[in-house]
Symmetry: C4
Subunit: 489 residues, 4 copies
């Protein structure tokens, strides 16, 4: 920028020693264009009367995208709370002695054989009378022929095994065997007498019991906000986990809920559905975003052309190149941010329209698109603050301090990482269970690692590659003689 400033200044002050008129004219035009390019929207309006269309579009975009996000978020919340409340209701219906709060990553823990049997029978008793129990529009799933899908109980146990803790002897076949049983809610009277042998659990060998069934539900509440109700399939899994063989059976209930448009429906009594208004609104947002992206692209193109003109001029008249700092001045990163955010907003809006039209249910992906785009749009507002002199100081200071902060964080991170590993291994596992162990973010990795312990040797090669990359990254010039001087200054 120095050169540029000097150029603008110098040419301002007195004048030129050039003799060719056309060249003089050319230079004056270039100077004007350059000066105009670096003006704020406000100054442009004062200088050439150009109205700040781009600024207007951006502000309109902020308002519209934020409104859209809020509407989508509220809708999203409805869906999420419906699923969550259903899960809570199912836990209260099917888990005996459920306190209303999960104990840990499981729901209930039981410690005696009788309690295990009670909890097991309770699930089936409740399932068989689901219709009379539940207060929600939920019922058994059916297959194509209209028959209810059965509840399936599977128990997994070591194939063969006799364990004699008193003798400190065991004889185990570590392969797992699985035995399953179906249970039809209509044949409720017979199951317990006919399958008594199935429920004779040998706890020494038992690894887990898994009860799975499928329920269907309808989310009627959306009727009230003038949307069509969705149909849901709930895949419920109740697990009696004895994997640890520690005298504690952990009972947990998981629901996997999938929403889809209902097969057949008839609705009346609501006013004409107003969802098309929303579609128009989404379409308008897409339009605004496209406009904004085009305007920004145009600005970038203009900037590149201006840079080329300036570069040619310098080359012809002074036989100099534009220095890198000045080149960077022409590339406005804000424009790239805005274009990227526009693309995200367009994709997000299309997804939202699809969800509205019930042809998609991927709320999560749409959330990420809309959310990221809104974040960028709001961060982009900072750019306009840069037009205020005082704010500019703030922004430039932040810009200058950023690498230092990053550097410190990196250095502190190293120590923290070492400290964390050391603390985890030395203190970690001895902390109370109900509290910290579950908070440790490695449970999934743990499960994966415990199954296959032989991978580290195999993976060694690839990790060394990473190291080589890191070591080359480390290579940079070092001037140890300067250290003390830096400290003194």
């Amino acid at each position: 920028m120095e050169l540029l400033v000097r150029y603008l200044d110098r040419s301002d002050s007195i004048g030129s020693t050039m003799t060719q008129d056309s060249s003089l004219m050319k230079e004056a035009t270039l100077r004007d264009d350059l000066r105009y390019y670096f003006m704020s929207p406000c100054e442009k309006y004062k200088a050439r009367g150009q109205k700040p269309w781009k600024l207007g579009v951006q502000i309109l975009k902020i308002v519209m995208i934020t409104t859209q996000l809020i509407l989508f978020g509220l809708n999203n919340q409805l869906v999420v709370s419906y699923k969550e409340e259903n899960t809570i209701a199912l836990k209260n219906l099917f888990l005996k002695d459920y306190s209303g709060v999960d104990e840990d990553d499981y729901c209930v823990s039981v410690y005696s054989q009788q309690r295990v049997y009670d909890s097991l029978y309770y699930v089936m008793d409740q399932y068989s009378q689901l219709g009379r129990l539940t207060v929600g529009p939920i019922s058994y799933a059916e297959d194509e022929e209209g028959r209810f899908l059965p509840l399936v109980i599977c128990k997994q146990f070591y194939k063969r095994g006799s364990v004699e803790p008193s003798d400190e002897t065991y004889d185990i076949d570590a392969e797992l065997e699985k035995a399953c049983m179906s249970f039809n809610p209509k044949t409720v009277n017979q199951w317990r007498s006919q399958n008594s042998s199935f429920f004779d659990l040998d706890f020494y060998r038992l690894v887990d019991v898994e009860i799975t069934f499928q329920l269907k539900g309808i989310n009627l509440q959306t009727v009230r906000s003038r949307e069509l109700p969705d149909c849901y399939s709930f895949y419920v899994t109740i697990t009696f986990d004895n994997r640890c063989h520690s005298g504690m059976v952990k009972i947990s209930l998981d629901t996997d809920s999938i929403s889809n448009a209902c097969r057949d429906w008839k609705i009346s009594g609501t006013a004409q559905k107003n969802t098309h208004y929303l579609l128009v609104f989404d379409g308008f947002i897409i339009l605004v975003c496209i406009t904004s992206a085009i305007l920004c692209t145009r600005s970038i193109v203009l900037a590149v052309r201006l840079l080329q003109r300036f570069s040619r001029f310098l080359n012809e008249n002074y036989n100099r190149k534009v220095c890198e700092d000045d080149q960077r001045e022409f590339l406005n990163c804000w424009y790239l941010l805005i274009i990227f955010s526009d693309l995200l907003a367009i994709v997000g809006s299309i997804l939202k329209m699809e969800i509205q039209a019930k042809s998609l249910t991927s709320y999560d992906v749409c959330s990420i698109f809309l959310g990221t785009s809104t974040l960028m749009v709001w961060v982009g507002v900072i750019r306009y603050l840069g037009y205020f002199e005082k704010y500019n100081v703030l922004l430039l200071t932040m810009k200058a301090a950023f690498p230092k902060v990053l550097r410190f964080c990196c250095c502190a991170g190293m120590i923290y990482l070492g400290y964390t590993f050391c603390g985890w291994i030395v203190l970690g596992p001895y902390h109370e269970k109900n509290y910290q162990m579950n908070g440790f973010p490695m449970t999934d990795l743990q499960k994966f690692l415990l199954e296959q312990k032989d991978f580290p040797v195999a993976e060694e090669g690839s990790q060394t590659d990473i190291n080589v990359g890191y070591s080359t990254f480390c290579c940079c010039r070092r001037v140890p003689e300067n250290d003390d001087i830096i400290l003194i200054s």
Copy 2:
């Protein structure tokens, strides 16, 4: 102030070159008056022996207003705690299996049809034997003819509907129908047999059940603080909320309590009521506030006159105008603060007297008046700290730093806003229910928006207006060439 200071200094040093005696005299008087005007109360006392009445009045006011506030607050707390304890007592009386703590924004949640019926019947059973149950002076409300007002149960349901989740089909008339039933505590034996059909709830169609009744209570505890007991009407609403149709019925109890003077009363045994002392105290506060306001107004008037004299003097002798900074020195903002706080205190005290006399019950409005006035009075104390040299530096520094802090907050706010929106949409709804979702401050907005989704397009026009306003606000001069220089300095 520069000019003023220079004027005072110069005229101090040696003397005048003026020849007219009267003019000389005039100037000396003006100089004395000006110097006197900018003195602290202490210096005024030393200079002309004037006693600091105004300061005394202010200090008296602080003590009195704070005392009044505390007295009013303690009284207020009695009323609030009476209402709250009554609500807790009603929850414990009417809600089956109430744990003593609300689960969420509702009190109890139930998950099976039987529990819904039990809870429903429980309310009515308890209501019918209220007199034998409650330990407080509370009973049924009566109409004008002395008959007890009945309890009213209303159920709201979709007009017509058959829902078959198994088939993924539904046939719903989204219009709501309402059916109500009255229940008189005296006809307790008949209601269950006569209205059995009403209590045959079709949970698929049921939206909510609302039980409302009205109770009357008397707040006897005020007798002990020598005030007349108030009579209260409690409008109790118990809602069984199945709006979400998620298999979870949320039961909540709300009380709306209105206090009024009792219709007929006779009281004895207390010493003569001492409330008139309090009225005298309030009156005295009003007097002090009026005095304070008058003194401050007088000071402002005197300051304006002095400014006019000074302005005229400068105009006549030096043909100069008083610069804006000096003019501002004459306008003491503290005086305006004090006058405003006095007005608030006067209105608040009048309201308090009305409340004391039982002709008003608007504790809230009075709270705001008295509270704001006390806050201002205490903030006003800072002014007197300005008389200490060291504090003055502190005050001036705070004054100077304020706009910078504000600017930074504004910039950080932008990023925060974007971050919040993004975080809410991406992470928000997936957080655990019992915790964060309820903390989100949009629930009312949400309800409003969900009912009418078509407004954003309609409101677009007005929002664009705001933007235009914002863009004009943004227009200000920008000097990009200075950026680097600012950073360096």
Copy 3:
């Protein structure tokens, strides 16, 4: 100190122009004494070989006083935990449905008449069979003739009253009447039949029921630490509080426990009691503290004499007075601190010996003496840090910054006070009860104020006095012309 330093420096440099030999000698001695006086213990040892006795005594004192404090604290904790556990045990024995945790400032709350009666009868049933219930050495108190002291139930109610909430009418005699009944644990079969009318509570008029009884206990656990067991009297008060008449009766249990030496005892089996070792230790501490106090007093006396000599010298030779700053150099505040802490430690140790000998039970007073003394002794260590050059900078900086910090706190305090009052009155009472209201530190004041509302007018006079005092305190010189200059500098 400037003068002093200059004097020491100047006389160091070359020599004197004095002619009298004796005077010269005198000055040299004075200079030596002065220089010696301002040395650290270490330098004194190097200069004249004086061993740092005073320092040694201080260090010995720190170790001994801290040891003593820990021993006393541990003992104290035993007593406190005995009392607390007894209170918990009594709550569990006498309060029906006590959850183990107090609900609020009360233990249990009940909401129906039946529950009140049940809780009331439960207390008496439990009391009558105390001997068979309790697991601790606790029993009924006896009067002089060996008869058990009875349990006393008192109910307080409005003298006369009929309340008709439905009619919004009441007729109350606000004077309170009290009816009491004694209950002897031996006549257990008769009380309920004979006093049935007493237990016919009219809840409209009932203010509270208070059950008081006295139990005796022996703290046997001290036997294990070779101390004599103490005897305790527990004055138990169970209150059924209906003062608020809000439909909620709050039951609370308070114990007032007083310890005293047992009347008659016989103990065997422990090794000879070792408490006399502790007495010797305490005696030794007193000795050390007296030594320390004497040494410090001596130092102060010597300093005053030295100051007098220096003052006389300056007066005679230079006809000057010692400036105030230099005088202050001679008065060592640390010595005063040490002497004060010694006195506290001596009193505390004597109290501790008395407690040990069971002739006193005022643990609290002794705690305060010993604790304050230990705090001062440790703070006194900072003085010795002042001998290290680097620490000295730290100390001096803290010394210099202290008034500024204080000033800022004072200014912020004003705003905070105003804010607190305003926030309390506007928001305060509407916050949830179970959380913040109880945290508000005015409950005692509140009770006091509610009983007698007429005092503020009466107290006005005295408060005005305070204000006058404050206003005179405010009087200090103000130089407004300097403000801007201060800000600039």
Copy 4:
């Protein structure tokens, strides 16, 4: 370093005034070697093409040691969670009315004699039917002849005693007597009738009841991660603590679990055990660590030799010694850190291999070795950050600021210590029990001190020794005349 820098600089600039060629050559070589020695790995590669082997080894080591630590930690966690879950299961099995959460440092507290008996009998009832109750592979321990080890109940009480709280008299023999009883799960029908006198507890004299038994368990879950199951002995102790005689009996359950290889086992069905992969991995780590240690030792040796050469050169040519600062430059503390961490890692890895081979079970010791080594390795990464110019400033600043921070902490620590002691004695013991008292870190010390109160006098001598040491440490030069100057500067 100054001298060194000057030497390198000077010799760089123009040349030498030396005349001997060999000497000139020698100096040039030395200069080159010195310059090379202080280069970063990157510069070395540029200068002489030497590949950064040492850096590579370090990076490889970081990756491998961290991987090893994670694997070991996950394995360790399995063992710890098995033990913890077993303890929880035993508490739920044997403690009547256990809520699932410990109340304090005890599990359950009971307050009536009946509850004590019930809890006592419950333990034995549950123990006698353990086989039918538990869901885990746990059973009674056996002696060598195959007979079940019995449950042992011991009660401890004062030898003789009659306590009459009502009379305030007691007659106690403070010596403790112990009575025990065995209970065989097979003779379940007889114990209660035969030992009724044993269970006739005299609560006045009772100090505690201790129930101990031994159970055997097998940790089968490790089968799933292809390791051999371990056998465990659980030494269970249930204590009914009446030591405090405060009317509250605290019941607690402690398990001491010892793991060992099972006596006899047969396992099938798993794929071939993959533990040898892990052994190879551990071996490889040991190899890498040895390499790293050797490389670092070699570097230190080279540095010492270089220093000797430089020292000889300076001595011969300039007759000067290498100053201490320069000598320190040659001693690289990082190398010592790396070597120490290597040794720890080698020991840790060997321990880990032993544990894997089931010949050791000391997880804790191994944890400390591996953890400390990993911490050091990660901290060692900071060294490489020193090669970046900017980071170096950071490191040097931290190095310079460290003593000041330490000094401030020391000074603040003094005040804090005094404050803590004072606060503890004055406020401490009156805080609520369930919260702070248990958090105080002196409980063990307390127990120790309460048994033998006579030690402080005896220990006095040794503590005075410490003081003498401290006082000599305090001796250092003080220049009080400089204080003001320091403050000003």
